[in-house]
Amino acid sequence: MAPNPKLFAFLLALSASTFVIGCYRRFSLVALGRPEYRLDALGTRFSRMLRLAFGQERVLGKPFGANHFIIFWSFIILAVANAEFLVGGLLPQASLTALPEPLQHALLFLFDLVSLLALAGVLFAFARRLFFPEPSLSSDYVKARSPEAFLILSLIAVLMLAYFGMHAARIALGSEDPSALPVSALIAANLVAPLAITPSALAAWSWWLHALALLSFFAYLPQSKHMHILTAIPNCFLSDLERPNTQPREEFKRGMRFGVGRIDDFTWKDLFDSFSCTECGRCQETCPAAGTGKSLNPRSIIHAIKTNLLANGAALRTGDPPSLPLIEAGEAKSGEGSSGEAAIWACTTCGACMSVCPVLIEHMPKIVKMRRHLVQMKASFPEELTTFFENIEARYNPWGIAPTERTKWHGTLQVKAFEEGKTEYLLYVGCAGAFDARQKQVTVALATILDAAGVSWGTLGKVERCCGDSLRRLGNEYVFERTARDNVNLLVERGVKKIVTQCPHCFSTLKNDYRQYGLELEVVHHSELIAALIAAGKLDLKQRVADLGRLLFHDSCYLGRHNEVYAAPRQVLTAATGASPVEFARNGERSFCCGAGGGRMWQEEQEGERINLNRVREALRQEPDTICVSCPYCLTMMEDGLKDLQGGSVKVKDLAEVVAEGLRA
């Protein structure tokens, strides 16, 4: 039976208008966000899009990703077949038969095979959700076995079955060449006769079934998480090219709102992100807060933004303030469009969520933006932070210790002041390195190493100040702004060109954040400098360090994930001990935070399991003698965790201490 073009045109118009209205409703809301420029470096963006969207790089990071890869590429390939179908429904004479015979043959062959693959993929996805759903597929607002997921999978399955039905019927009718369509031919040969239906009836039924499935799919798309089919690819293209922890500066003028306190304070890209979420649960699975029972789930933060935007849409369009709050005191009700303050403060800014998101959603910057609102507009934050903020403002270090004590770590060491033209490296000691009893030992170890290698280095002495890392991650941008300006002025005034830090947080802040203040310096973490000194033969490691036993290396988030320094610390440890360090099950880019980043160091942790205990338990499973770290926060958190878990004789050492041990012999 030939399709009825008039009826089809009506249904197509209905579907298309539902689709367009749905899309318009969402994209016009996205346009209400604050401006943000995301069209620079088009080449980089394009290649990133190819790699992540079309290459499905992160999707393939999980076993079931292969399934999605197949369905994704089936959609791309079958888009041609479906386009032909839609056009053919309106103009029956227009079809691929217009193409040269060999090309037409090849395309039909491809569509036939790909449809089978897609069908298999869909059945596999069905089975996964029904029989072995991973916990991360479910969250507070949706379950793995959600009707929505099954509805979409069913629509795709029906689409594929109808496709085969149509072509099998045509083969049975002799209008299509069975050699071009092996799967359809198989169905034609074995199934058309037993179905007790005439081939022409099958052709008509299949055609309409295909048409209805396809048109329903379009109509439903914008209403669901499957909106990501439209938004994921552009979202990858428009993703932030900056380091994820380097949020934009704020302008401090009277009468302005600071941070994000309501939905339209977000940028359009923040809002676009919320329509790109596929609800795959990768962020939730990897988040240290979500994984230890905190109220934070990065996925729920994104979902709340989407829900809030839709709920406030009517008010926003008329220029009224939104009525549904974006942030709620304490814990928010799940799935209702608000995020709780408790969740916002639970983030360690470790960046794990962003490193796994297949569509490059930027979770962490949104959390920091909301923190900016809470701190700057409402002065509402965990009360421990008041002391922290005041200490930094009055005495330029987190503990409020007198700045005159910044050089007490020197002890009997001869420490020179940095002199322009004479000193090569500024050793930026950092607050922990200067004041924390345990980290001071690391500073001494590092100073010993630098001296042994003949490096020309000096410090700023008592005038060094906190870099402001925690201030910025905690959303106190106003005080960070002043801190950064003062520090940049000081570094420029002193003629500093190269900096070495022992703290990944100082490292990342000086290297990445201060660039926003015009400071372009060579900043290295001590692991990088020591690795280079060893490689250049400048460090004579007299003996293999053996008495530290089985050495387990823990990646710092701000060194690893945020700055991609993975090899240097491992090279250093291998050179010092003669063997590669033992690895955590979660290591490198998949490393698990110690729990202290993002200003969590200065807050209590009452909700759920303590993050450092989770990590130390993981460490103890590897039966190490020494846990080796590269960050003062990690050092504190690992040592505290070992004490709590009665870790016996297991020690925690910074890699500089391991190397200094080797110099001692």
Partner: protein
Amino acid sequence: MLVVVCIKQVPDTTQVQIDPVTNTLVREGIPFIVNPYDAHALEEALRLKDQFGFRVAALSMGPPNAEATLKKALALGVDEAILLSDRVFGGADTLATSRVLSEAIAKLNQREQVGIVICGKQTIDGDTAQVGPGIATRLGYTQLTLVDHIEKLDPFQERITVRRKLEGRHEIVEAPLPVLLTVVREVNRPRYPTVPMRLESEEAVVQIWSNQELQLDQNGIGLKGSPTWVSRIFSPQREKGEIVGDGAVDPAGAAHLLVDRLLSRDLLVV
């Protein structure tokens, strides 16, 4: 009703050192802070403002750079800030200081009825705890010192009930307004300024009052009006400590030794 809070800019004493030769405070390069007790007084005044809608005036006597301290008070939400600054006020002891402050409060009272004056318990540089009571005496206000909680305030009956924190006990007292309160740290947790308020305070004006405004007899103020003089400042010699046992090698043994030693000197009660 107007609530007046008295605040003082003090050197950050954790950073002050005493010159061993001259026995004077080395003040060069030492940052100034709001006297910590006064920060609690300020917070208590702001809470009364939030609760009852009173206006709050912050008052400070000091050199022109003490304006920074009053800017902080403005950022936290006081309605006006007055700096009492004049060369003739300089070198004042607690008596002369309380004369100037009470005269300024009396002047404010002419414009708007002052119901409550709040001071910190003491300052961390002078540590006398005399200025608050001195103001109350000079103004004839009831003085309620060492307050750690305002139990009740009835602005219509003009009565206040507060809890005083004394050694080992609390005391609840009631008094008619106007009163002067001095507060201890436990009274509240000071708030943190919001950015819009900070930006507002940058533009806000601190009123400067000299003796032209107050017209006080110069013999009763400043150095001339101060019967108390600081003759010498010094750090007491501390007896050299002693390390008991070796905690690093034998912590349990060292702890035993320490307990025995403390018991033998009657420093530990079993």
